[in-house]
Amino acid sequence: MAGQELENENDRGLLAGMRAGSDDAFSVLLERHTNRYYSLAFRYLADKNEAEDVVQDCFIKIWVNPTLWKEDRNSSFKTWFYTIVINACMDRNRKRRTFPLPVGFDRDDGQAPIDTRMNKRQEKTILEYEIARLPYRQRTALNLCFYEELSNKDAAEIMGLNIKALQSLLMRAKTTLKKKMTIRNVEAI
């Protein structure tokens, strides 16, 4: 198949090409989707190198075995691959070190430090820390809907929920974060 034709091909067609051993089909799939999955992986891992590694591992799995995605599945390749990346990120998070906090911020009591005035960098670190401490489903809802700006329908499909349950998770995630950040005296809010 010529390059231009491949670029117009949908994901299903590209995966069929990969099953036939086409490097070009895989290349087009990568160009099409790499950044979106990297972006999501970064939201979970907060580390450029680790996020790139995870995305690479996931894509190599599908390259090695394109039949992992079944054509007769109800979900699209894009939706299905989001779940693959999320699971890989969660696996990676289980193995890695704990998230570092700025000096003076006690991890356990959640109270503000003696010097309550935080700089922007500290605020971002605290935000990242508190997001990482959210329950898995709340964090995923926040990452997919708020940061990746997926539609509720797509996010609900990825998480295997109905839309109301997804909205509820998203609201709970934001409420929890607001409480945590208020306790820590984050001035930006």
Binding site: T34, N35, Y38, R43, I60, W63, V64, M181, T182, E187
Partner: protein
Amino acid sequence: MTYNDDNFDNFLRTRSFTPARQDLASYILRNAQMVDPKKRLSVFDILRNIFREFNLPEPAYVLSFLLLLGFLTGIGLQSLHQKDNYNSYDIYNTVTIQNYLHAGENVL
């Protein structure tokens, strides 16, 4: 401290983000091409695919492993037992024949 939703959403949007390397897609492609298609799947990958195919939960891995371990242990013990029996029988026969031959020689 009080807050409103818009402020908080704006605050959430300040979350750090580092873009990926420019050539991430081609970098992944290069690395993928180094994977030999003939050696693509390890035994573990094949097993994992089977589990994924049947949507088995994680404990199924442990149960299957224990079952396989028990099966192999059973076969191992059985063959060891048979081997021991064979050896003692073999030694017994050898001794008996030697005794017989030795006795025969004396007579001659």
